[in-house]
Amino acid sequence: MNRYQLKKYLFLFALVILSSSSLFAQDDLLGSLEDEKPPREYARNAFKSTRVITAQSMEQLSKGVLDFRILHRFGRINSGAYEAFGFDQATIRLALDYGITDRLTVGIGRSSNRKEIDGFIKYRPIWQSNDGAPFSLLLTSGFVKDGLKWADPNRDNYPSSRYSYYHQVLVGRKFSDAFSLQLMPTLVHRNLVLTEEDKNDIISIGVASRLKLSNRLALTVEYFRHITDLPTGYYDPLSIGFDIETGGHVFQLHFTNSLGMNERSYLVGTDGQWSKGDIHFGFNISRVFTISKPKEFRKKKE
């Protein structure tokens, strides 16, 4: 056998081995359905709701879903037995949010506190997934319009003075099924402030987290720390609560030093202090309705 022949036999031998190994592969039919790489799956349900407690969470509504939100904050617990520890006073915010796409949500709300109307738009350019970004990034912008009568109708009052604006970046990660964490640098701009010392622009940075205790119960916390000085007599908002899920509803029960339920009022208008017992009990109810169904369910085939 010369060298050429040897090579040829080796080649043939290799071919036989190769074709028989492909036969072995046939045996594991199920294994052959294994994906070379798992399909992309986006992180969902980092938080039960689109709000952690009062602050926006890294969650969005799905496309075609309408969320009717009823928010309550009672009076201060330290107001004593005469005020039923706050239950005699209630402040509310009613809101409607809608998911235009899975990445874009808009919403409007009305608060009884200062008769404010607010609106926002929230977009998710980066969405955490198993084979892509390790975190989600969302941008929120909104306005808050004060609805109280002018304090002094005799001076020059401008409609623009009623408006405040806010811009927020949310960077969050769902670390596991049970634990999520997000950071929220936020700018609130008020067109009109009370005194010359007060700043129009207030920058703060927030942190929020969710820890699931069971499939239907979760512990939530959110806290904002101001960077530019808050007006005198105002403090950083801290809220601690529970999310309870029952079918189509999410109940959020919490304790907070903030009476406000929109970005202006809780970021710049929180006048309570936890250390003094200025704590409000509150709850949010979120009820979702599917307005536009996924394409598979639009037409019933019978």
Binding site: Y9, L12, F13, L15, V16, S19, S20, S22, L23, Q26, L29, L30, S32, L33, E34, P38, P39, E41, R44, N45, S62, K63, G64, V65, D177, N215, R216, T246, G247, G248, V288, T290, K293, P294, E296, F297
Partner: protein
Amino acid sequence: MKKILLSLMLLVGLNASAQDTLSTNNAAINFDATSAGSPEKIEAISKQVKSKLVVKTGDFVFAIQMQSFEFEKSLMKDHFNENYVESTKYPRATFKGAIQDISKVNFSKNGKYPVVVKGIMDMHGVKKEVTSNGALTIAGDKVTASSSFKLLLSDFNIEVPPVVGDKLAKQATITVNATFNKK
């Protein structure tokens, strides 16, 4: 030596072609777990099911990514993935089995052949034997395998809390439809 090798290769080659494995990535599975009298339908569909059928032996497998199930309401999808099938922990469900009476099926003659499928369903970390009636439909180059069977959710450690008992049934009807191209 050379001849032996060549004939051996030929044999192997023939064998492989006789295996004739049909495959698709677009088989459909839907399930209905609606409780009697429920105000809303608890049903879902996925059309991204991978499936293979070996013509000669009747070996039949499919695999589905649980997150690919679409529901009428996105909240149902959230609850399905998070609370019931725990799809981050158990992302796939698979079936590995065989069509028992594959020899009765004439793949070159059009028609609907009733068959029995038997195999192991692997879902939510539980493996369970399933036997089901089904049909193989031959129409030209198309071979369609279809079957419908019921699974008890409790067999797969999927709990139904009493609070949703009036909507969610204790068992789900699963319908599988896989269409293969012979060529």
